[in-house]
Symmetry: C2
Subunit: 265 residues, 2 copies
């Protein structure tokens, strides 16, 4: 069995190396909220897919189009069928990541969205960060090894040239399904050494990792978690303005990605 295993491993490695040296062709941009997604849709003049790639019943929406040499797919998980609000959080994020990879076989996933930032770690409102690592802060399983599974620390795909060219701030991202932050969340976010906090990133990273698709995380700060304003209020106040900063950076990222191989990012 060993030689077979070795050959198959070598073949797989060759494919990955091959992909890294081939120009990026198809990208998936995952954005959880409509307010965050629409400026990017408009900027690239993407159109909504009327014949959904996704099964009947799911609220997920694909906007697509081409920009220079890129096939762009922006996936928004849509409005929850029961409650009518954006399908935020890790479950929808993981499902759309999975279904998008199955349907579109993208070369790269860009998860973009808003986030809370920690001023103690250097974040300010409207900063746009590229995440270096992602992890969860609300999956506490105090059994050896399960504890590490719960945290699910993963590196983002490394893009040193992109960071340099766009002069982006870089920080660690911590993900949880709550907009607020409990004491337990705070302790784990601190242990995760996170500068930014969102509700989707680590879920996207998990699915992208098991399906071997590189993923990067572009997150714009709407609220200061360790500040004196209530998160929900500050988030809603800044959402529209910060979305403009996010849109601009996502467009710069797409522009930078165009014509390049994964290895050049």
């Amino acid at each position: 069995m060993a030689p077979h295993g070795d050959e198959s491993g070598a073949a797989e490695e060759a494919t990955v190396v091959g992909a890294e040296k081939r120009p990026i062709s198809t990208i998936v941009i995952l954005i959880a909220m409509q307010t965050e997604a629409l400026p990017v849709v408009n900027r690239f003049q993407l159109v909504e897919d009327q014949n959904s790639l996704f099964p009947k019943g799911v609220p997920w929406v694909r906007y697509y189009g081409t920009y220079k040499d890129l096939n762009i797919n922006l996936i928004w998980p849509g409005k929850d069928p029961s409650f009518g609000v954006d399908s935020v959080g890790t479950i929808s994020a993981s499902l759309v990541t999975y279904a998008s990879i199955q349907a579109l076989q993208p070369d790269l996933i860009i998860n973009a969205g808003t986030a809370g930032g920690f001023k103690a770690k250097g974040a300010s409102i409207s900063d746009v960060f590229l995440a270096s690592e992602v992890a969860f802060h609300d999956r506490r399983i105090p059994i050896p090894v399960f504890d590490l599974y719960g945290v699910g620390l993963r590196p983002a795909f490394s893009t040193p040239n992109l960071v340099k060219e766009l002069n982006l701030k870089v920080g660690k991202l911590s993900t949880g399904d709550s907009l607020d932050m409990s004491q337990q969340d705070e302790a784990t976010i601190f242990a995760n050494d996170a500068t930014i906090k969102d509700m989707e990133g680590a879920a996207v990273a998990y699915v992208a990792d098991i399906l071997k698709v590189p993923a990067i995380f572009v997150k714009a700060v709407t609220d200061i978690v360790d500040g004196d304003k209530p998160t929900a209020e500050e988030f809603l106040q800044n959402l529209a303005a910060v979305t403009a900063a996010l849109d601009q950076t996502v467009c710069q990222v797409v522009e930078f990605v165009n014509g390049k191989c994964l290895a050049d990012l």
Copy 2:
């Protein structure tokens, strides 16, 4: 547009009613932990699917076989590829629910597993509950309507005859990604009026709901959350013994389901 919408709605309703009156043919049993799954696999002499229905890379395992008039598929999310532990929690649960429905089009989903129980609500170790409702307790989004989306309260598929025949305890189930319980979790679990607490149920319910597949939840109590023993310790101590009670009840449920229509459950 209205007449078309009406017709399509009526057609859909007719299909659902049709399904409710047709004998149940294919079931999916979702079980998060191998220790919980293997007794059921052995009992029904299910075999592991060597040509996975699922994409390369995912650790999900399907065991299948027939029992009387039923096609049984037991799906276990498998060992995490990075950490080697069972892929517990809502993200894996939602992904396998989605992928199983897509691949197998089951008539019924049975999510079985262990759970914590609240003695104040009448739960004891080894009790097996059928959930009447499921909700999340760790998705706090304090913005109007988003708060309800976060809690995600859903009824389980109603099975009054099954409850009566098997003399099962019935209680509300609350789901979160942590094995322990923070103060915030506790407050939401209390608001959810839950008797049992698990790490998958509400995620399975969410996906089953959007894809319109009926789902029921069979949960055996391994630990008393409002007792004096640490949850992780009590959980590990009781896991093997309680799994026997769970196995027995799952088998009784399958036996009861066999030859019946959804409407007879």
